[in-house]
């Protein structure tokens, strides 16, 4: 079938459009579209590009604040860091491609999120990855883990951007759909931010980067009978990334922007040339006239349909004034990149393309972008999991429970993963992976830039609202542990099918939970991404809102300590007991996924986090927040596997809830004896409990006169190394 053949309802359906949507297209245009036009509508009206099922809920997020330079709607959010610097960041999912081809899927996920950041004029300085896997015993799952980790590592390492943090969680709910959420943080001078706008009629449109191939054209939605079957079999559904070209692209784009020869610029991500052309035109209120014959093609005989919808990687679209086109092309040539003028900006808000001298398509911009369909789909509010009657807990062997937790894949040390990542390239990393949050110096300054990703699959499946809110609270605490104050959030919302009212209900509850928590902690949401349809054979993943949070330390004077040292006094700041509902203790030690997940105590948590931030900045304490596994697991983490402790629990508390309870928002603090008075003064008015001292080779926990835990600390730490050890052996 030819690229300019008239479309039909059947073809529309094969492109994933509904009958209503096809009817709307015909009405908008006042005619039947051709096949290429239909493909463009299908791509821009897809869930992935249009956010048609989720967009209506975004207005619930707080998006404004004194530091916000650019909120949602651009390629990435921009937040002020002070002293003329801004940071640019976003998180995006690459779940489906990573499940089909883990290495390339994860690698191109990293490539895509890097482009979203440097297209704004920022130099990417940090990568983080939030990963969700299924049962690690299945060979297929191990293959996926191995591929994803190598893909992330190889791409990030080649391109010279450090992978400094992230998180991994495992749950059988991800057996059929793994999640790969990649976050990138970049920095720029505040007056050097660029936007994806194709403004100024008469300006030229330049194509930059790799040639266009037949990669990923319409992915899985494209039915094979539209083209001949032999071609369909050869058409790859996965794109292959080229990090060395990406590195050239980063340097070339930053030089182009620094030279002031660019009006607007955007990467070609999902839906390639289609999305970049229409979105840039839409933001500027202009149109584009393109000659598709000029697009650099990797193969012979590519049609307008293929050129518009290819998802070949490492490509950018930029706009420059006619006077500057020569300079733009010269800079691109110097970096060894293909750059070609393929059209110009026009006043009329429509994109018009020709191919081989004849019209290819003519489409108005608004119906494809701003006026794309939006749905408020039926949503059944989730019923938060209630409490269950727990077995008696007073005679539990707490040492055995602690060992069981640490040996579980849920608590697997991510060391075999991040050891494959270069986390210090660029020489600005202050705290790398393995801590609570990553911390870097903004190059050439004393400004500390911190980032973390957080989410809890079990809590969110039990109670999407409170589970999501706790993800935000945990991110705030993680940043506090490195002395950073939160300045902005990016989120990645991973769910099943929005056409299922139960899933849509989870989504709405999670959005509301995130929104409430971001408001309470006064952290605006500046960018994000939604990934629906994470389900296999009708079984959806657990609702997984991933929070990416960025923080700042205005004047970083010393490296925050993340471990305690021999002789340190150990304190608990915050409530002594946590709650067991939704805890890892119930999940792992008792095999129960049961509620209730309590609400976040915002007021108290804000104060404790602020106190911890100050203590860490002044170098008065090492801090570790209590999250998965509660105080007991936090203590093992603070020990670094080498320095034990002797902790005495206050009289009258529940040992189980104190050691393994969660959601309290408390911190473990460790400080040298000399700083005790200063620390106690700083925590005046807050719940501060002295637990004991660090030292020795054992972790000892005393309740009354009984030693409920007395284990060699090295053994405890070693238990966590088992679950992913095969990854380094592979």
């Amino acid at each position: 079938m030819s690229w300019d053949a008239p479309a039909t309802l059947d073809l529309a359906r094969e492109h994933g459009l509904s009958e209503d949507e096809y009817g709307r297209i015909v009405t908008e245009l006042g005619r039947v579209p051709n096949l290429t036009e239909l493909g463009i509508f299908a791509a821009l009206w897809s869930e992935h590009c249009s956010y048609k099922s989720s967009r209506a809920y975004f207005k619930r997020f707080p998006t404004a604040g004194p530091r916000v330079v650019q909120g949602p709607g651009e390629n990435a959010g921009v937040v002020d860091l002070g002293r003329g610097w801004v940071c640019v960041f976003k998180m995006e999912s690459h779940n489906h491609p990573s499940f089909i081809e883990p290495y390339q899927g994860a690698a191109t996920g990293v490539g895509g999120i890097l482009r979203d950041v440097f297209t704004m004029g920022a130099r990417p300085v940090m990568l983080l990855d939030s990963l969700r896997f299924g049962d690690l015993d299945a060979p297929r799952m191990r293959h996926l883990v191995d591929g994803v980790v190598r893909g992330i590592g190889d791409y990030g390492n080649c391109v010279g951007v450090p992978t400094v943090g992230g998180e991994v969680d495992v749950h059988p709910g991800y057996n059929g759909n793994i999640l790969v959420n990649a976050m990138c943080v970049g920095v720029a001078r505040a007056d050097r931010i660029f936007y994806g706008r194709a403004s100024g009629p008469g300006n030229r449109v330049v194509y930059l980067g790799s040639k266009t191939g037949r990669d990923g054209i319409h992915g899985a939605t494209m039915a094979s009978d539209v083209f001949d079957e032999a071609a369909a079999a050869k058409r790859p559904t996965v794109q292959v990334g080229d990090p060395f070209t990406e590195k050239l692209l980063i340097e070339c784009c930053l030089e182009l922007m620094e030279s002031g020869v660019v009006v607007g610029i955007q990467d070609m991500g999902a839906a390639g040339l289609t999305s970049s052309a229409f979105e840039m035109a839409s933001r500027a209120g202009c149109g584009l006239a393109l000659d598709l014959s000029l697009v650099p093609a990797r193969e012979r005989g590519m049609t307008p349909y293929e050129l518009m919808l290819s998802e070949s990687q490492e490509r950018m679209l930029l706009v420059a004034t006619p006077d500057n086109v020569g300079a733009v092309l010269a800079i691109c040539r110097r970096w060894g990149l293909d750059a070609v003028e393929i059209g110009s900006v026009v006043a009329e808000p429509e994109v018009v393309a020709t191919f081989a001298g004849r019209p290819a398509f003519r489409l108005p911009v608004a119906p494809l972008v701003d006026d794309a369909p939006r749905y408020e789909r039926p949503a059944t509010p989730p019923v938060p999991a209630a409490a269950v009657t727990l077995p008696p807990l007073h005679d539990r062997d707490l040492a055995a429970d602690l060992r069981a937790l640490l040996a579980s894949p849920v608590f697997a040390s991510a060391r075999p993963i991040w050891e494959q990542y270069d986390h210090s390239v660029g020489a600005s990393t202050v705290v790398g992976p393995g801590g609570d949050a990553a911390l870097q110096l903004v190059p050439g300054t004393r400004i500390g830039l911190a980032a973390t990703t957080d989410g809890n699959a079990v809590a969110c499946s039990l109670d999407p609202f409170h589970g999501a809110a706790h993800g935000v609270a945990e991110a705030v605490r993680n940043l506090a542990c490195v002395g950073a104050e939160p300045v902005g959030v990016t989120d990645c919302l991973n769910f099943g099918s929005p056409e299922n009212p139960a899933v849509m209900g989870q989504f709405v509850a999670a959005v509301d939970g995130l929104a409430e928590a971001c408001r309470a902690f006064e952290v605006p949401v500046v960018s994000g991404n939604v990934s629906f349809y994470n389900e296999t054979s009708g079984s959806a993943i657990p609702p997984t809102p991933t929070v990416g949070m960025v923080g700042v330390v205005p004047e970083l004077r010393q490296r925050p300590r993340t471990r305690w040292q021999v002789g340190d006094t150990v304190y608990l700041l915050g409530p002594v007991e946590g709650e067991l509902g939704g805890s890892r203790y119930l999940q792992v030690a008792l095999g129960l996924e049961a509620g209730p997940v309590p609400p976040v105590e915002y007021e108290a948590q804000r104060h404790t986090a602020a106190a911890v931030r100050d203590l860490v900045r002044l170098g008065l304490a090492a801090a570790k927040d209590l999250s998965d596994g509660g105080l007991a697991v936090a203590a093992v983490e603070m020990s670094g596997g080498t320095v034990g402790c002797r902790l005495t629990l206050p009289a009258g508390v529940s040992p189980v809830r104190t050691l393994f309870g969660e959601w309290s928002g408390a911190f473990l603090l460790a400080t040298p004896a000399a700083f005790e008075p200063a620390l106690e003064r700083a925590c005046e008015g807050l719940a501060l409990t002295r637990l004991g001292v660090a030292g020795g080779a054992k972790m000892t926990v005393v309740v009354g006169r009984k030693h409920v835990v007395e284990e060699p600390i090295a053994d405890l730490a070693a238990l966590r190394e088992g679950s992913l050890a095969w990854l380094s052996e592979a």
Partner: protein
């Protein structure tokens, strides 16, 4: 018998390695070499007499281990 397995990227998949080699060649004056695709050649020593049985075992090994069917294609050649 010795079985030859050729694995190469599917025709439409980007080959960054081949492209890098092409650039180097062009830089050294081999401008007439307009395209390079890099694949793998594997020589397997296989116990077995019946060619069709050997072929089907080797093809299974290709699908499972020797090639990545998502982005690569393979060819099995018997003596």
């Amino acid at each position: 018998m010795q079985v030859e397995v050729r694995v190469k990227l599917k025709e439409q998949v980007l080959d960054p390695q081949g492209e890098a080699i092409r650039r180097v060649l062009a830089g050294l004056g081999y401008a007439e070499i307009g395209g390079v695709r890099v694949g793998k050649l594997m020589l397997l020593e296989v116990d077995g007499e019946a060619p069709e049985a050997v072929r089907s075992r080797v093809e299974a090994a290709c699908r499972e281990v020797l090639a990545n069917p998502v982005i690569e294609e393979f060819e099995v050649r018997l003596p």
